[in-house]
């Protein structure tokens, strides 16, 4: 079959950095092509070239058998190439139908709302949003639904190639499934799709072939069913990753470090009770909206709490601010590092020492040497380049940013470390490192509590799991019963057998 889109020997450099080296990439008609690679491997550069955002490359780009060089994204769009970016470009105050026809293609000069609604319906059906009223405001949809509306808008232009750049990065399980279903449906209708993702389980689920980029070089595309997760990770890293997840050694100690009793964070349907043990990695599993993240926020003092108590070494308390939690040795790493995990414009050193100013100062005066010692120590532990500690945190890649966001908590030597979505938007290499660090911290005696919507992570990282479903605590799964199926059952459909 003649490839619909084919790039051969594409090179692209920015200054001294060569982002792409002799990259070959092709997509067949009706094919779902997975594009994977670590952060900085060149995925986004390649996507930009394909979409006409960047034409400073050398090499050959053929579309539909014709050699092309798109001068602008608009030109690429006219040829039938559509890109759904990670950042949404919808107008929240306008209706779904209005957003779909925002660009104004194929819309009569004067169109009333009814007309727009009728025109929007088929596209909404195509992306699996047939249950949504085209007149409802975009801001009333979930993030996943908004992504689908964005895709519906692209499909309205009838593209031949659709590029999805990490469409599920910010989505929960339910919304992700919607996106995946849509991809399958579109490819059945003959559209070619380029699917860029960090979530390897998705890649295997929906792609026909996979192209791996590594340090700007492309590997020959492989058929998805000839690979498995470990083989793919090996291709991405160029080295063998024995196991992404560190070995688990269940060794629960007799006494609980913290007892969570009748804790009722805002957003949950009922109070929750559980114990946290030192040396253990506890997982709170649940989909988006299950409340697991809110529980961590409540213990960390950032999320509002109606009632309840935490007992830490015999003392009852309930933090009303992160400051109070920190004073008790509780560290909380939120799921949105850009929002409240990092000071992007400040040096990495200041980020790492930020929770522990008291310990690196004397009578209010900063002790520079103590700060440097502290920051160097953490940076070495988390393999952040110590030569760059004075660089702004904002210049780091996602994986390194997450390492800094998490690593800064080592500065207070916390007893309990709460981590919400430890590896969101983090590449595979850094991901394995973060898992290993969490395990090391547990081995050193800290209690680790991880909340995550990533099933792969939940199945393989924690020693024990507590499951949540729509704001309710469901059950507990020990190491011996841990499986993706068991967790999925409890977090997606827990009442199927028990109540009916």
């Amino acid at each position: 079959m003649q490839p619909l889109l084919k790039l051969s020997s594409v090179n692209r450099s920015f200054g001294a950095i060569q982002a792409l080296k002799d990259v070959d990439f092709e997509v067949l008609p009706g094919e779902v092509m997975g594009l994977v690679g670590e952060n900085g491997a060149g995925k986004s550069t390649l996507v930009k070239i394909i979409g006409g955002f960047d034409n400073g490359y050398t090499g050959n780009y053929a579309f539909d058998g014709q050699s092309v060089r798109f001068a602008s994204p608009a030109k690429a769009e006219q040829s039938g190439i559509a890109i759904a970016q990670q950042e949404l470009s919808l107008i929240p105050t306008m209706s779904v139908a209005e957003n779909i026809f925002l660009a104004g293609h194929n819309v009569p000069a004067v169109a009333n709302k009814r007309k727009l609604v009728d025109m929007a319906r088929p596209f909404l059906e195509e992306v699996g949003l047939d249950y949504i009223d085209p007149l409802s405001g975009v801001d009333r949809l979930s993030v996943g639904e908004q992504h689908l509306v964005e895709v519906a808008r692209l499909i309205a232009h009838d593209p031949r190639v659709l590029i999805l750049d990490e469409p599920t990065a910010a989505l929960g399980e339910q919304d992700s499934i919607r996106i995946l279903d849509m991809v399958t449906r579109l490819s059945e209708r003959g559209k070619s799709i380029i699917y860029v993702s960090h979530r390897l389980d998705e890649i295997f689920k929906i792609t026909d072939r996979i192209t791996v980029l590594r340090d700007g070089e492309s590997q020959a595309p492989r058929t998805a069913d000839t690979l498995n997760v470990n083989a793919l990770v090996e291709l991405m890293l160029g080295r063998e990753l024995d196991n992404m997840f560190p070995e688990r050694r269940p060794k629960r100690q007799a006494a609980a470090l913290m007892k969570v009793r009748k804790l009722w964070p805002d957003g949950l349907l009922e109070p929750v009770n559980f114990d946290i043990y030192p040396g253990e990695v506890l997982g709170l599993a649940g989909q988006l909206g299950s409340g697991s993240g809110e529980i961590l926020g409540a213990i960390g003092g950032t999320h509002r709490t109606r009632s309840g108590a935490l007992t830490l070494s015999g003392r009852e308390f309930l933090p009303s601010s992160p400051k109070q939690a920190i004073a008790k040795g509780i560290a909380y790493c939120s799921d949105d590092r850009k929002l409240d995990g990092l000071f992007l414009g400040r040096p990495i050193r200041e980020n790492l020492s930020s929770p522990a100013l008291g310990s690196i100062s004397k009578f209010g005066w900063m002790r520079r040497s103590a700060e440097e010692e502290l920051a160097n120590g953490i940076a070495e532990k988390f393999t952040v380049d110590t030569a760059r500690l004075n660089a702004e945190a904002g210049v780091l890649s996602g994986g390194n940013q997450q390492k800094v966001a998490l690593g800064k908590w080592l500065s207070i030597a916390p007893k309990i470390i709460l981590v919400n979505e430890p590896t969101r938007g983090v590449d595979v290499g850094a991901r394995a490192e973060i898992y290993q660090k969490l395990r090391d911290l547990a081995d050193e005696g800290a209690a680790i509590v991880v909340a995550s919507t990533d099933i792969l992570e939940m199945t393989n990282l924690p020693d024990r799991i507590i499951t949540f479903y729509r704001g309710m605590q469901i059950g507990e799964i020990g190491l011996e019963d841990m499986s993706a199926a068991a967790i999925l059952k409890q977090i997606t459909d827990p009442f199927d057998e028990t109540n009916l």
Partner: protein, 342 residues
């Protein structure tokens, strides 16, 4: 990967003094210094009176009052609490309070303490409201009206004067080793502020909270107390300027800082301009009081040169406006350029 390799190469090469300087100071500082040099040389060439010791002293003395207020405001801006639009009204209230106390015969020390106490109350009041989540613009606009109203009411909108000789003369018109005391105060305050920002935990908290308030809260640094502290600092600096000015002219009126002051006539605008011309980030988290001090001297130099060339106040206000616009553009461009993503 490749960037890391590059930075290691760079570290191995022995950097010359120029690149060491460049690594230590941002390009912004260079641009400011370069601009300053250009204007300085232009002044030397075109205005014969420009490069006289007397005139240089005048420049710094003129920069002092605005500079001190700008240093105070810089703390607010750096901590991400935007600007206090009540700077000149705080000064108005304080200058009336000081002159009232002086004319009441309480002496400099008591009048000074009384005025500072009022400034601390005024500043912390605004700080509490801002710290509780009030919009700084709305809160300080309201406070501005309140303070100015109080000052006018208290003084019946009249000039409050007190007779020479009085205990405040040393601050207003005195000098030490040939430098006016107010200039010395400006230099001392500038140095102290810079040391506090750079080397104390409080200074670090200012930067952290300013860079990202949510992350600051998450790491145990609350903006509530920060807003109170920084607003109080700004307010106290206003009060100091009010006292120094009143000491100079041995009188006070509520509208001294609205009509009779500086080239633009409006002290608040001039102070905000100074903070911005210095290149401090309006969003907080980036900048320094040193920048504001240099900004004050920069504006004062340009203003001085225009006076020497016989411009009247219209073009001089225009020049301040141009400087703000220009500095915002330059600093924004340079800052964007210095951020290279990994």
């Amino acid at each position: 990967m490749s960037t890391r390799a590059m930075s290691e190469e760079g570290a191995e090469r022995d950097p010359g003094w120029a690149s060491r300087l460049a690594a230590h100071y941002s390009p912004l500082v260079f641009i400011l210094v370069l601009l300053f040099a250009i204007i300085f040389i232009y002044g030397m060439v075109t205005a014969p009176n420009f490069l006289t010791v007397f005139n240089l002293k005048t420049i710094i003395r003129d920069a002092a009052l605005v500079g001190i207020m700008a240093i105070g405001l810089t703390f607010v801006t750096l901590s991400g609490n935007f600007f206090l639009l009540s700077m000149k009204e705080t000064a108005a209230l304080c200058i009336i309070a000081f002159a009232m106390a002086m004319s009441g015969g309480y002496g400099f020390e008591l009048a000074f303490l009384f005025t500072m106490a009022i400034a601390i109350v005024a500043g912390s009041l605004q700080g509490v409201l801002i710290g509780l989540g009030g919009n700084p613009i709305v809160v300080t606009l309201g406070a501005a009206g309140l303070f100015f109203g109080l000052a006018s009411w208290w003084s019946d909108n009249l000039v409050v004067s007190f007779r020479r000789p009085h205990g405040a003369e040393w601050l207003g018109t005195g000098s030490f080793l040939g430098l006016p005391n107010i200039t010395i105060a400006f230099i001392l305050i500038a140095i102290t502020a810079e040391i506090v920002l750079r080397y104390t935990t409080f200074g670090r908290q200012v930067y952290l909270i300013g860079a990202n308030r949510a992350a600051g809260r998450a790491t145990g640094h609350e903006n509530f107390s920060m807003a109170i502290k920084t607003c109080t600092i700004a307010s106290v600096c206003s009060a100091f300027v009010a006292i120094a000015f009143s000491a100079q002219v041995s009188s006070a009126q509520a509208n001294y800082f609205s009509s009779e002051f500086g080239s633009s006539g409006d002290m608040t605008i001039l102070v905000i301009a100074t903070v911005m011309v210095g290149g401090n980030s309006i969003m907080g988290g980036y900048g320094s009081t040193l920048r504001s001090s240099l900004g004050a001297i920069f504006i004062s130099t340009v203003d001085n040169m225009m006076v020497l060339h016989g411009f009247n106040s219209g073009p001089r206000v225009l020049a301040v406006g141009l400087m703000i616009v220009f500095s915002i553009i330059v600093f924004a461009l340079v800052r964007r350029g210095s951020r290279v993503q990994e």
